[in-house]
């Protein structure tokens, strides 16, 4: 009996130890350190945390700052070694902070980050992250303004409007500008040459001159006609031919690649699904853009619809365009990167966004790095952030992510360097298109916040999938249904 009691006590002690290890070692959700603490140097601010920091390495007295990558660019295979190298260089330059990078695949990054935050294990630095990523974690970001003030961070090298872009009502300054990704057309030169068609204009507002030398305003109508001529069936007939067989298409003319209904709506002009009173709305020009796309899928056949989207001949490392069987796409600067266009076996270039009703809108993506409220070392995290965004080091990261620098001082030589690094054998890229496109950025931004952000996104994507896969859909009824459903979601969020 004695031996049994001894064993029982031992087991209970073991159990207590296991439970302690499971529950006791991880801190409960740490609240952010007050960022209005008395001013001190960043290196001093991190010092007190070193004595009993839970993330402190036994081998090193440095404060570990975790950097989470995955909500935006950065999780594709080609970007990983370069980011690791950046971290190694940072760590080699430091004796107080150790940067630890966590790269999570984009399609699971949102869940992973949410789980980490909920478990009280939030990373400190998150990014690059766009508006969509940021607004998916509304309320979780640290207001950087007190840290900007505390360390007198110099913002004079940024466009003031871009700084305002990261100011969120009731939440503060959630980011410092890092990279901007204007949008434009990328076209397959080989397919144009094969069809004997002149390339689209490389200057915003310039006309397109057709194969007979006739000028056409570079607008949606011209784009549609051009795209139809570049859509070809297995018999070699293009989509303007009466003999064209839409069931046997082997090459398409156009696609708004990798965007959603808000992005496609913005192709015809900026707008929002939320009106000023917080109610659901479908802007008329968005509806027009959606109808144009729907007809492009099922009537004019120049855009790959749902069934064609999965076809083998449209697969490539950079999606349909990199397959070589799609003539033109509208996409952002982040696509002009080696992982998407580095190994394609055709020639390509950049062109201007066409106008709709006389107005050009080139939607913009803007990425930054944020600090989460759950970060136990906001001062140290801000030091990392300052390093990443500095004029000296931002270029290294911009090259990895293919972003155009938000820092005004880095913009003049950026494309020259980026071209040399990313596409050393290509000398004819129309980089001016990218710079020009900034003037036509969308306001409000197509990724702006909406009530119940994820649920709203889910609903309009369902609407879009239905249209992309249903040739005889009642377009008007579906749009009305979407609006009604969005209203329900918005009402529930109030």
């Amino acid at each position: 009996m004695k031996s049994f009691k001894l064993l029982f006590v031992s087991i209970m002690l073991m159990l207590a130890a296991v439970l302690n290890a499971a529950c006791g070692s991880s801190p409960s959700t740490p609240s952010a350190q007050p960022t209005t603490a008395p001013a001190s140097e960043p290196t001093q601010a991190v010092a007190p945390t070193q004595a009993s920091a839970p993330t402190q390495s036994a081998a090193s007295s440095r404060t570990k700052i975790r950097w989470f990558v995955g909500l935006g660019a950065g999780s594709d295979e080609g970007a990983i070694p370069a980011q690791n190298a950046f971290v190694e260089r940072f760590n080699a330059s430091q004796d107080k902070i150790e940067l630890v990078i966590e790269i999570v695949d984009n399609n699971v990054a949102f869940d992973t980050l949410a789980t980490q935050i909920a478990a009280g294990n939030a990373p400190c630095v998150v990014g690059p992250v766009g508006i969509r990523g940021r607004d998916s974690f509304k309320g979780a970001w640290l207001d950087l303004q007190p840290l900007i003030d505390k360390y007198n961070y110099d913002l004079s090298d940024f466009d003031p409007n871009l700084i305002k872009f990261y100011q969120v009502k009731e939440e503060g300054q959630l980011g410092i500008p890092f990279a901007i990704f204007p949008s434009f057309i990328i076209y397959n030169k080989d397919l144009f040459d094969e069809a004997g068609l002149p390339y689209p204009p490389a200057e915003h507002g310039a006309p397109w001159v057709d194969e007979n030398g006739v000028e056409h305003e570079w607008n949606i109508e011209t784009l549609t006609e051009l795209a139809k001529k570049l859509t070809v069936d297995a018999n070699g007939n293009d989509a303007t031919s009466p003999n064209f067989d839409p069931q046997k298409i082997v090459q398409f003319g156009w696609m708004n690649q990798w965007t959603d209904p808000r992005g496609i709506g913005t192709f015809f002009g900026p707008g929002s699904l939320v009106d000023e009173k917080g109610n659901a709305q479908i802007p008329d020009h968005w509806k027009a853009a959606w109808k144009w796309t729907y007809d492009g899928w099922w009537k004019d056949w120049f855009i790959p619809n749902g069934p064609y989207g999965g076809a083998d001949f449209l697969q490539g490392p950079g999606g349909p365009f990199s397959s070589g069987n799609l003539a033109m796409i509208h996409i952002h600067m982040w696509y002009v990167a080696p992982w998407a266009l580095g190994n394609v076996d055709f020639d390509w270039n950049l062109a201007a966004t066409p106008s709709y009703n006389g107005t050009i809108t080139a939607k913009m993506h803007a990425d930054t790095f944020g600090i989460l409220k759950g970060c136990p070392y906001p001062d140290a995290a801000f030091e990392v952030l300052s390093h990443m965004l500095s004029a000296e080091h931002a270029s290294e990261l911009l090259t990895i992510y293919g972003g155009m620098p938000a820092r005004l001082s880095l913009q003049p030589n950026y494309f020259q360097e980026y071209n040399k690094t990313s596409f050393p054998n290509k000398t004819d890229i129309n980089w001016d298109v990218v710079v020009e496109a900034m003037k036509y950025a969308d306001n409000p931004n197509h990724e702006s916040w909406m009530p119940s952000f994820q649920e709203t996104t889910d609903r309009y994507n369902e609407f879009w999938n239905y249209l992309a896969n249903t040739p005889d859909a009642d377009f008007e009824a579906e749009v009305a249904k979407l609006k009604a459903d969005l209203q329900k979601i918005f009402d529930a969020a109030k």
């Binding site: 064993l7 959700t29 949102f110 935050i117 979780a140 069931q247 069934p307 076809a311 369902e462």
Partner: protein, 329 residues
Amino acid sequence: MAIVPDLSGALRSSIGKAKRRKLSQLEKKEMRWGLMFISPWIIGFLAFYLLPMIASFGFSLYDFNPAIPDQARFIGFANWQRALFQDAEVWRSLRRTIHFAAISLPISLLFALFLAILLNSENVLGRSIYRTLFYMPTMIPLVATVLIWNGVLNEQTGWINVIIERLTGIRATGTQGLRWLADPNLVYYAYTLFGLWGVGNAMIIFLAGLQGIPKELYEAAEIDGANWLQRLIFITIPLLTPVIFYQLVLGVIGSLQYFLAPFVLNNGTGFPEGMTRFFMVYFYKQSFTFFSMGYGATLAWLMLIIAMIITIVLFGTARYWVFYTTEER
């Protein structure tokens, strides 16, 4: 001979005996040692199953977003009220799940049984090779299986459509062809097809059941002039009912938890036309996409309750159609 032992009878008997008399010192000591030896499992169960379950019930009473845990607030049974009376999608997703189970479960069970009977026949040459071949696909991770079938069933270039078109001349490819994964009328059959590829496990269990049926019964039936079909209906199926029951219970629970294929193929969007937004997909969306963790916990509990009710009903019906050879009737 019992193919699956009737444990409920043994348990009732033991409990009855324990009630009748007090345990001796030796028995008490043995029980303590017994409990001690299973304590690692009990500790694991408590720490990793029971406590999280209790915690998830606690979550169901909160409005809890994991991205902003400091804003969690207690809302009582509001999530339960929403799930039971306000959110029509809960019941729609459950209806879809049952609809899919009604198609896929009989097909899967019958196919597994058919294969097992076939591979139990002495007239089939190379039975071991066939058994191995039919079992092999179950060793492939389900995600890979789904992705492979996604290619095979591709409406434009999938070889099933290409073969149908070449053999029959019917236009099976293209936007007007057989859109296995995009047509609401076909998608459940396509998903069932994924499942058939992994039917090896069920086949092996049926095979074990078949091999447990005494040969004398067949010999006696043959002497009485019973043909193959009669032997199947009057000997094989009745004696296999405990295994069928076991497979049915597991199959029903598995169907209620169906998640992976629609998630891998469509990221849980419910495509086409919401047909693949099954209950667990909806649960996932609420919990991990919309970050409504409290509501997600409610849905998880609701599924547990539904699964328990269905299982109890199945057990209730078992006495009418499941035949245990050790059971007296």
